[in-house]
Amino acid sequence: MSADPRHWRALLRRTGILLAVWFLIGPVAGILIVDRLNAFTFAGLPFGFWIAQQGSILVFVVLIFLNAWLAARADDTAIGQAPAKNGDR
């Protein structure tokens, strides 16, 4: 019944990395250093402005799909090693 500690630790590590990217793109690039990034131009717009109003949203979408894919792969590995006994839904 107890969760496999390796599976859980891997989940925590994966979640931590994805959230770090989320934090760097959203709060850091989009707010904390947005004015400095505006010195660069991307797609014809100031880069900081583009990140805050377009780019960050695209990155968020990719992060969630990446999580779904990585988590499914990790679950497959974990179930392959130790088949779920408790009538997994």
């Binding site: 707010i31 960050s56 979408v61 988590a71 408790n86």
Partner: protein, 558 residues
């Protein structure tokens, strides 16, 4: 050639007929069908339903207008209302889907082994949802009064009757599949005019690319007219406030009960994870377009109105139409007979002449698009408002009928009785929501932002800690939720006392530079601190709770 009014009637009647048709097809006979659509919704369909559920009248009608007025600082809404999905998908949705059951208070009650915790969660869910519903109803009223010339009260009643039919009849199943249809209506209605305008302005039919040509022109025009350049950040909010508002909206998104319960309806834990990706992809279609609409609208308005004589501005067709609704009131503050940019958009302490809420609804007229496009936008605005309202109403009714009646008052009630109570509860919720719609408080997006603050300060910390920290105790979670709610709710009421109680000055100023919209961030931090502190000084949770946490952490089969 049909008039705008005729087209609008056709678009609204056709879309309403579609929703009712879906309701008849999706009649439910069990409480599982009523609360979680029998857990048979596919990941993509749930993604669409979530997108419609969550993109409210605020997203559709108000957001582009808010961004147009705020400029670069409008990013608080863009990043805030999308970034939260990353938190939801990584930290909450798959685990709550694994747990199962019907409502967010269900999880709170089981994880925190207490019906007191359930009651606090029920109160928070109802409070958040009613705050949010009020905003939707005002959106319905605006659409009906402008496009059909019906008074707001009648418009609200028509909208509520439609929602009542499919929500009472089909419960979550009816709501889910009407939301899928509503997403299709609203996204077409949003993208079509944006594409047409992008093409007209720059020759590129993709708005996200077309702004590259428009933004420099807008920046130049703004500076020329004495406003700050559109792309300059921190002109509307301070950097700290931008951070606080964005965080409150992100965390609030991840803690909104009506969004979380959507993930109870999918077939598996894995489907819940994928579904969050689809949801944000469908949302991103609108959210990457909204800032382009804001840029086009601001450019058109400055270009056609600013520095023109008052009489000339008054004679413009769309200005006249919107003046009749009271949402444009031309204020020539310095009395020189000319409308300066600051008088139009409210810079330099002046009250704006143009209500931000009309930007999306008026843009097709401003840009001179065909009448059927204008009608489509009206139907889209209604779809956005009704889809969100129905999701919220289900949360309210399930909190009353399932959590209070079914779990606390009469746990022995039979299935048929539970289903009957659920239907009665949702019918009552519709009536109360209609009353809110007829007496709506304030700006749509502003009201909604407060609902997010409350969700951020109540649910998010205790859900995340409940999953990721086994030591979190019942006393800790209850104390944390109560602290977060009282602090955030209290601050908002006192800070906005001018609007709420009619005092001449706000009773409480900004909290170290953070305004009411961002205060949920502080409430969330307080909730975390109190929950952790109290948990550490109370006895650890009993063994069966540790087992429950282990169970929701298990790897998921496909």
């Amino acid at each position: 050639m049909l008039s705008v009014r005729a087209w609008t009637l056709i678009a609204i009647i056709a879309s309403f007929a579609l929703y009712i048709g879906i309701a008849i097809w999706s009649r439910v006979r069990t409480t599982e069908g009523f609360y979680v659509a029998g857990r048979g919704v596919s990941a993509v369909a749930n993604g669409m339903a979530t997108a419609a559920d969550w993109m409210s009248a605020a997203s559709f009608i108000s957001m582009a207008g808010l961004i147009a007025f705020l400029g670069a600082d409008g990013s608080v809404y863009l990043m805030g209302w999308t970034g939260g999905y990353v938190l939801l998908a990584l930290l909450i949705a798959p685990f709550l889907r694994r747990f199962g059951w019907y409502t967010v208070p269900d999880f709170v009650a089981a994880r925190y082994y207490s019906n007191v915790a359930r009651v606090v969660a029920v109160i928070a869910a109802i409070f958040i949802s009613f705050t949010y519903v009020a905003g939707q109803m005002r959106g319905v009223g605006v659409v009906f009064s402008r496009f059909l010339g019906i008074n707001v009260e009648a418009g609200v009643l028509i909208g509520m009757v439609i929602v009542a039919v499919y929500a009472v009849w089909g419960g979550m199943k009816g709501i889910t599949y009407t939301q899928v249809a509503q997403y299709c209506v609203l996204i077409v209605a949003y993208l079509l005019p944006a594409i047409a305008i992008a093409f007209a302005l720059t020759g590129l039919p993709i708005p996200q690319l077309a702004i590259a040509g428009t933004l420099p022109r807008l920046d130049g025009l703004s500076t020329e007219l004495g406003l700050s350049a559109y792309s300059t950040p921190f002109t509307g909010f301070s950097r700290l406030n931008v951070l606080a508002i964005t965080t409150a909206l992100m965390v609030g998104t991840a803690g909104l009960p009506h969004v979380i319960v959507r993930f109870y309806t999918v077939r598996s834990v894995r489907a819940a994870r994928w579904s969050a990706g689809w949801a944000l992809l469908f949302i991103a279609l609108l959210y990457t377009t909204a800032p382009t609409v804001a840029i086009f609208a601001k450019y058109y308005m400055l270009d056609t109105l600013a520095n023109r004589p008052l009489v000339e501005v008054q004679a413009i067709d769309w200005v006249r139409n919107w003046m009749q609704t009271g949402l444009i009131t031309l204020r020539d503050a310095n009395g020189d007979g000319i409308m300066q940019a600051a008088e139009l958009f409210g810079a330099a302490g002046l009250t704006a002449s143009i209500d931000r809420d009309i930007v999306v609804l008026a843009l097709p007229e401003i840009a001179g698009l065909a009448p059927f496009v204008i009608a489509l936008v009206a139907a889209g605005g209604l779809a956005a408002a009704l889809s969100t309202a129905s999701g919220l109403l289900l949360v309210i009714s399930s909190a009353v009928a399932h959590d209070v009646y079914g779990q606390i008052l009469r746990p022995e009630a039979r299935e048929s009785e539970r289903l009957r109570v659920a239907r009665v509860a949702i019918a009552f919720a519709v009536i109360i929501a209609a009353w809110f719609g007829i007496r709506p408080p304030g700006f749509v997006a502003e009201v909604v932002a407060f609902a997010f603050g409350l969700a951020a300060a109540s649910f998010f910390p205790i859900l995340v800690l409940g999953i990721f920290w086994k030591r979190t105790t019942s006393a800790g979670a209850i104390a944390g939720m109560v602290t977060g709610l009282l602090f955030t709710g209290g601050f908002i009421l006192l800070n906005r006392s001018v609007q709420v109680f009619g005092t001449s000055q706000p009773i409480l100023g900004p909290f170290f530079g953070i305004t009411a919209q961002g205060i949920g961030t502080v409430g969330m931090l307080l909730n975390f601190a109190v929950t952790i502190g109290v948990s550490l000084v109370t006895p650890p949770p009993p063994g069966h709770v540790a087992e429950l946490v282990d169970a929701i952490r298990q790897p998921a089969s496909s």
